[in-house]
């Protein structure tokens, strides 16, 4: 094999990979949905320490797979399983057989539980015979009918069963589980709760969405340091195949990272989290345990301390705010365990948003400033406040105070927030009201919650759409995590009736969830569809990755209130649907091929085209285009021979010349309206092209000699190629088969022309007697009379009139 072979092969890789890697493209793939955020954070988190072993592999693993890309590279780094046969990393997409889907954490298949519930963590696998563990786990069933269901779990396997089956004690578990799983495992519950309680616990995405996200930030922090000191850390590691996990404080000491540098990495981690998830939760890192007043490193690590101890001290996980490892193991939720920033859980007077500083908002002021402000206020709150359930324990700590303190303008606020996620809040009150008015406003918990319920309805609709279009979403060139219904409708061309069925489905779920109440936004369906129920909304590129515009779309669609006016800035053509478009004819009806324009003369053609006016043209039945091929033929008096001489058969086989030249305008119009008249043409073209491609790959060098070196396209026909390359009938039939396989693998179907092999081969399938006869039909040596590639192609494919 030569480098050219690889070069050529790389040239043909899938479009999605080329598009995904466009240089300079923004890598900001934000994740609106908490679930997605949690999953990504967890994957990243777990991959970093390489402790997860995906469950669901068909065969038992010989050894636990490791994180091949190791740590620190970001969200997408996972701990993939290795296929023993191919050595390739297992594909975790849904296209595989369910049993073969490793589905890190099961999240690809289970939409109701937190991922760790369906995992076999390697910290547990190491406690027993790992192979036996995997074999057992893999022997449990996955219910295909429940895959991706948002209400039912497809897995029989769960971590509780694993613990019971292998008799892992609580002590063993506590000893083994690493710091980075903090927040993902409630050991007490795991060992003392009932199966139902544990199941319920792992359904609590809300809880994990905070805890795991903090762990995710820590992992990003580790990743930033790891990336910056890759060589050094690699050298430090004893096992070069699976790098060891080293707590950040230890890295700080070993790599002599000063305070400013560490803060830089923390900021980068925050930035990465924001870019990846659109929000950021962090631990309250204890820099003071690392650095003295003048910035020198003061930490001395006790040899007896475990990695977990060090991490917990540094991160001050929840209740471990003080640098005292004695606190470890104390799970009592007392006043000392002040809740972390981001949701009160301790105030029963105000809606929780009042005491929350969302990650996306904190970013506006910077991590340090945010922490400083929060910490000062938090520290000033007397512990006794938490005992009084009748009053607010943290009056000073609220969103209004934060906004005022940092002088955040409404414009800034709106540039970063997710309006649907924040639609509970009336921004007019928040920004124009006094502190007292805002405080009073947030006492209306029930009223504010209604928006949350409505948001749930919206979320259910999105879930149903995502379930219905899961495969298409998976195939998207860019990761689409946004749950913007108008965008999804446009993306998948979801008809009005279909959307309405999703809305009804969501309503049923809401009724179930909220005791019969039908909470939903007053969706503005008319902004999406024309009078015939077809999608009329057209979105321009600016919507992509633009949170503000997506917010506007959501607000327009949901009519949340404050943004009820349709701001049409983001819509290319609000009236799109019929005018200037045609939704009823086959495309070729309105298409004038290049060779025909050339025949007419570009200036003549343009002049005529410009003279056509839509005035008086009735746009009534879905066709808004004035010109068509029949009009062109009539206007310029095109003889049928021009088609037969210039059509690039089989590509132009949509033209039914008998009809175009002998039928009435109405008949032609009707013909082009029938989808079935054109149904398989594109597929046949595809197979024809695939045959040429296959021959090109098979006979690359010889093919190049036939081909114009500066052309990416083939000017010769299959019969000529076959003749030039001396391909036998058997070989050609094999090429047809491979091309068909290729078409099926890509498109799922394959239609072919009725290829006329008899015009090429003699009875032995080797000689080219019939073709040679055709080629030498011209006895007068006048090249003009030679049979053209086009004619050969048309005869070979038996397009239209050559069907026999």
């Amino acid at each position: 094999m030569k480098k050219d072979d690889i070069l050529d092969a790389i040239s043909g890789i899938k479009d999605e990979y080329i598009n995904e890697a466009v240089p300079g493209a923004s890598r900001r793939k934000s994740s609106v949905w908490a679930k997605a955020g949690v999953i990504a954070a967890c994957l990243c988190l777990f991959a970093a320490v390489g402790f997860l072993i995906p469950y669901g592999m068909n065969k038992p693993a010989v050894k636990p797979p490791v994180a091949t890309d190791t740590v620190g590279s970001g969200v997408e780094t996972t701990a993939p399983a290795t296929n023993e046969t191919t050595g390739m990393v297992e594909d975790s997409t849904d296209t595989e057989d369910v049993q073969n889907t490793p589905a890190i954490g099961g999240t690809a298949l289970c939409k109701v539980h937190e991922e760790i519930y369906h995992m076999v963590p390697d910290f547990l696998a190491e406690l027993r015979d790992a192979n036996e563990m995997f074999e057992w786990a893999n022997s449990l069933k996955i219910d295909e009918s429940k895959v991706k269901s948002t209400t039912e779990c497809p897995y029989e396997y769960n971590i509780k069963l694993l613990i019971d089956k292998f008799g892992i004690t609580k002590e063993e578990f506590v000893e083994a589980y690493p710091f980075t799983s903090a927040g993902a495992v409630d050991v007490d519950l795991l060992y003392n709760g009932t199966a139902e309680e544990i199941d319920g616990y792992y359904r609590n995405f809300g809880y994990f969405s905070i805890e795991s996200k903090r762990g995710g930030h820590y992992d990003y922090l580790f990743g930033e340091i790891f990336t910056a000191y890759y060589d050094e850390i690699y050298d430090m590691s004893k096992n070069k195949d699976m790098l060891e996990y080293i707590p950040v404080p230890e890295l700080v000491v070993m790599l002599d990272i000063d305070r400013d540098e560490l803060i830089k990495y923390i900021d980068l981690a925050t930035q990465k989290s924001m870019e990846t998830h659109g929000e950021c939760y962090t631990f309250d890192y204890d820099l003071d345990m690392l650095y003295g007043a003048d910035g020198e490193i003061i930490l001395e690590i006790d040899a007896d301390m475990s990695d977990k101890d060090i991490d917990e001290m540094f991160c001050r996980v929840g209740r471990y705010a003080d640098n005292d490892v004695d606190f470890i193991g104390n799970s009592n939720d007392t006043a000392e365990n002040k809740p972390a920033i981001g949701g009160s859980g301790h105030c029963y007077i105000h809606h929780e948003i009042y005491h929350s500083i969302p990650g996306w908002l904190a970013v506006l002021v910077g991590e340090d400033e945010n922490h400083k402000w929060c910490q000062e206020l938090w520290d000033s709150i007397p512990d006794s406040n938490y005992n009084d359930l009748e009053s607010c324990p943290a009056e000073e700590f609220n969103i209004k105070a934060f906004i005022d303190h940092f002088g955040i303008t409404r414009e800034d606020f709106e540039s970063v927030h997710y309006s649907l996620q924040y639609c509970e809040v009336d921004l007019d009150v928040l920004f124009d009201g006094t502190a007292a008015e805002v405080e009073q406003y947030f006492r209306n918990i029930d009223e504010l919650n209604i928006y949350g319920y409505k948001r749930s309805h919206y979320g259910y609709v999105v879930d149903l759409i995502r379930d219905a279009y899961a495969d298409e979403l998976d195939k998207l060139e860019t990761n689409y995590y946004h749950g913007c219904i108008p965008e999804l409708v446009v993306m998948f061309d979801i008809e009005k009736g279909e959307l309405e069925s999703y809305i009804r489905g969501a309503t049923e779920k809401v009724i179930k969830a909220y005791d019969g109440k039908k909470y939903a936004f007053d969706y503005n369906i008319d902004m999406l569809y024309d009078s015939d129920g077809r999608v009329k909304l057209e979105l321009n590129d600016s919507v992509n990755n633009n949170r503000k515009l997506r917010n506007q779309l959501d607000e327009m669609f949901c009519r949340i209130g404050r943004c009820a006016d349709n701001d049409l800035n983001l819509i290319d053509n609000p009236d799109a649907g019929v005018k200037d478009h045609c939704t009823v004819h086959h495309t070729s009806y309105h298409m004038t091929p290049a060779w025909l324009i050339e025949y007419i003369g570009i200036d003549n053609y343009k002049e005529w085209k410009n003279s056509l006016s839509a005035d008086g043209f009735n746009v009534t039945d879905g066709c808004g285009l004035v010109s068509n091929i029949k009009k062109v033929i009539d206007r310029f008096d095109i003889p049928a021979e021009v088609f037969t001489e210039n059509c690039t058969y089989p590509l132009d086989s949509e033209y039914n010349l008998n009809l175009l030249y002998n039928a009435t305008e109405d008949e032609i119009d009707k013909y082009y309206r029938k989808e079935e008249n054109f149904k398989y043409n594109v597929d046949r073209h595809t197979h024809h092209a695939a045959v040429m491609e296959t021959m090109w790959f098979e006979y690359m060098n010889e093919f190049r000699e036939l081909q114009d070196p500066y052309s990416s396209f083939y000017t010769f026909s299959i019969p000529e190629a076959v003749y030039g390359l001396n391909i036998t009938r058997d070989e050609l039939e094999e090429i047809f088969k491979r091309a068909a396989d290729n078409c099926i693998s890509v498109h799922g179907v394959c239609y072919t022309y009725d290829y006329n092999l008899e015009m090429i081969y003699g009875e032995d399938g080797v000689s080219f007697e019939p073709l040679e006869k055709l080629l030498s039909v011209n006895e007068d040596d006048d090249p003009a009379n030679d049979i053209s590639s086009n004619e050969l192609r048309e005869m070979f494919c038996r397009v239209g009139r050559y069907a026999e």
Binding site: L7, A9, G12, I18, E20, R27, D91, N540, M591
Partner: protein
């Protein structure tokens, strides 16, 4: 203008489609060509050829993704030109460097060369890429499809150069192992 509209214009032989293509994608195509050819004038010519090729091929083709379609055209045209120049011993761009890296994971020259079935090889590469972590895949494609420099990739992905180098090295190694396993290589030698 959105891509589908540009394709519609090209499809209906509206020359405005070419202008829109140029307006939107000239810079993008220029970058692809320049990385391969390393010459501004050649790259401009290749980019112009790209739009001409798009005009000549739409219809009958109707690309679903115009951007990638143009990228492929540009790359093919640039590589063709590059190969001609290489034959004429004129200097090339980043292709040589990238390909030398790939070549390093192929068998040594004196080993028996297998006949390569490129369709299968492309298919294998697609599978290989599908199973790489996304970031690694982007790195690989940027290096060997877009012919970007290691530094450029590092900047694009917010990574250090060493991280990119090592990841690429590991990925090439993985690819070589796979190629060997699938019978594309008789021997795998590492330099």
């Amino acid at each position: 203008m959105i891509d589908s509209k540009i394709v519609d214009m090209l499809w209906s032989r509206d020359e405005g489609g070419i202008s829109e293509c140029e307006k939107k994608y000239k810079k993008y195509c220029m970058k692809i060509a320049y990385r391969i050819l390393g010459d501004l004038q050649d790259s401009e010519e290749c980019t112009s050829d790209t739009f001409l090729a798009a005009w000549n091929t739409i219809p009958p083709k109707r690309p679903e993704n115009l951007k990638t379609y143009l990228a492929k055209l540009t790359r093919n045209l640039s590589l063709n030109r590059y190969k001609t120049y290489t034959a004429e011993k004129r200097g090339g761009g980043a292709v040589d460097t990238s390909m030398e890296e790939i070549e390093a994971c192929l068998p040594s020259r004196d080993s028996t060369e297998a006949v390569v079935d490129s369709v299968v090889l492309t298919d294998l590469l697609d599978r290989f890429l599908a199973e790489l972590p996304k970031e690694t895949r982007i790195m690989f494609v940027q290096r060997y499809w877009y012919f970007m420099s290691v530094k450029g990739i590092a900047e694009d992905l917010y990574l250090t150069e060493s991280k990119v180098k090592i990841t690429l090295m590991r990925t090439r190694k993985k690819l070589a192992e796979l190629l060997e396993k699938e019978g594309f290589m008789r021997t795998a030698e590492w330099r």
